[in-house]
Symmetry: C2
Subunit: 332 residues, 2 copies
């Protein structure tokens, strides 16, 4: 199977998820309060893109030989988790727009944004708990889901607290990206594998892979933010002082004067960062080959991921490899 | 057993919970990120009071004839949930102090307050999942825990969106209080009963009781906020425009002029509400017997709770009744 075929299947599964989501995350249940939750939640969910994560879950289940219907609840839960994380992230980062629309906290206020996110994650647990699966499978899924939330929270803690940090290192970055993106990205694949009855050692390897794939993906994301912008003007990570690999590499290589100015720009409140500042940082990155360095690093991580997969005592590893490849190379 | 004995047992269980909590919610695990999560979380947990909820869980388990050790994980999870809700509530309400100390969002910023809360709830799920109990018991506990989070979120949605609402009714209030406090307050008791093997109909009745007990408790809380203040000056609910039973009753009874002024005061940003405003509202409540009305309502709800309990086909209902009584009459 080639990556085009995988892309096509993911698209089709994405449509199915889109159809089913409102049945699980009620658009309205007639109660007075339902509008206060459902309006902002669906306002957010509708800016939420292509349902790639749940599609990956269904696809993994199918390609490993199990009926994807069995994975539907977990797939939906993963999509809700994804949107919950984005919703709370927007508040934490102070992001005012998502895909060109005002974010939930801008439109409905911070209290509703926090409460809707809290409600969504409970809803995701409810949906997993209601799966028509054996109790021990549900328990394994809940363990995977909870582990993902914990590791993501740990990565997010670094992200929040190391903004414009003067001592930020590449090692910090690897830990951050592995935490924040590693589990979160392979969680739907792990879930699909659990439902398809994959043995424990395969699940372990998938998590390990997640660290590599997730970091490779995150690096690619950091580069895109600077070169093309992610649905918003390029350089937003600089405005937010985000601790990325580009920043860590430049910090290590710049001379003292450049370093001082770089930190100054990263420390500025986002509205005070000028276009000139961003151009200056970009030039600094060019001077030290920072972007090429990052791209090489991402390539290495991807190769390492494929090497780990090759060593797996697992018959359908070509399938998982193609899915992994798809995950790394797609855009957010 | 009298209520003094129950109070004593709850205190003792509270100490045990306090001792064990750090083992489950690590104070530090040596990783770089741990300080970013554990510092604010433990800063908050240490302002968190007497561990009454987990103690109630252990006590219920014991009084229903099961080893309370079996309930320890669930008890700890409930305490973490309680603190997670308070932590996020402080952000949503903009509360700057809790028990005389700056709240987490004031001390560590809103992003850390949101992320720490998110991390805590995942941690609570992890702790329940790690319980040394049969799979189906764990699943029942997870269902109860998740139901509590969902109903609390629904109540909170009303609380957030009906601030100073001109059409706020007592019916709205009952729905709000039942949602926000009802499940949350009996969740530890329900968990204890599940672990002690109580039949499904008892669990159902406990949830139903929760609606009455929770609302009675919330009404009492609203009255205390006005008459004594809850660890802060009296009248904070008025400053925050909180949709309480006192407000609903006064809205219904006041003449048009009074109603207009009442709404005006409730709508004011909290820092603009004067002491004179609060005195005026208090006088209005006195004029219409609002506080007595609320107290009578709480008494009725409590009686109704006891009546439901009397009808339970359940041998140890005297025990549950005493625990229920304790829950209603204690202070926050």
């Amino acid at each position: 199977m080639d990556s085009e075929k995988i892309g096509q299947m993911i698209k089709e599964y994405g449509y199915r998820v889109d159809e089913l989501l409102p049945k699980f995350l009620e658009k309205s249940n007639g109660y007075e309060w339902s509008k206060f939750l459902n309006e902002p939640i669906w306002y957010h969910m509708n800016t939420g893109g292509k349902r790639i994560r749940p599609a990956l879950c269904l696809l993994t289940t199918e390609l490993l030989g199990e009926d994807p219907k069995k994975a539907m609840n977990f797939a939906l839960a993963v999509e809700i988790m994804h949107n919950y994380l984005l919703l709370h992230d927007d508040v934490m980062d102070g992001d005012k727009f998502r895909r060109g629309e005002p974010t939930v906290w801008v439109k409905y206020g911070v209290p509703n944004a926090i409460n809707c996110g809290d409600y969504m994650i409970a809803k995701a647990y409810e949906i997993i708990l209601k799966s028509d699966l054996p109790e021990d499978t549900i328990q394994k899924l809940l363990n995977a889901f909870t582990l993902t939330l914990l590791r993501t929270g740990e990565g997010q803690a670094l992200d929040v607290n190391l903004r414009a940090d003067e001592h930020f290192t590449e090692e910090n970055y690897m830990e951050l990206a592995k935490g924040k993106t590693g589990h979160y990205l392979v969680c739907p694949i792990v879930g699909g594998a659990i439902i398809a009855g994959a043995p424990e050692e395969v699940i372990e390897k998938l998590w390990e892979l997640g660290g590599n794939i997730g970091t490779a993906f995150q690096i690619r994301d950091d580069v895109i933010d600077l070169t093309e912008g992610k649905g918003r003007p390029p350089g937003c990570d600089i405005r937010e002082g985000k601790p990325g690999i580009l920043y860590a590499h430049a910090l290590r290589n710049a001379n003292p004067e450049e370093k001082k100015k770089l930190i100054e720009i990263m420390k500025k409140p986002r509205d005070e960062t000028t276009d000139e500042d961003i151009r200056w940082v970009k030039k600094l990155y060019e001077k030290y080959g920072t972007i090429e360095y990052a791209q090489k690093k991402a390539e290495e991580l991807k190769k390492e991921a494929m090497r780990i997969l090759d060593e797996l005592p697992f018959s359908k590893k070509d399938v998982v490899k193609q899915i992994a490849e798809y995950v790394i190379s797609r855009k957010t």
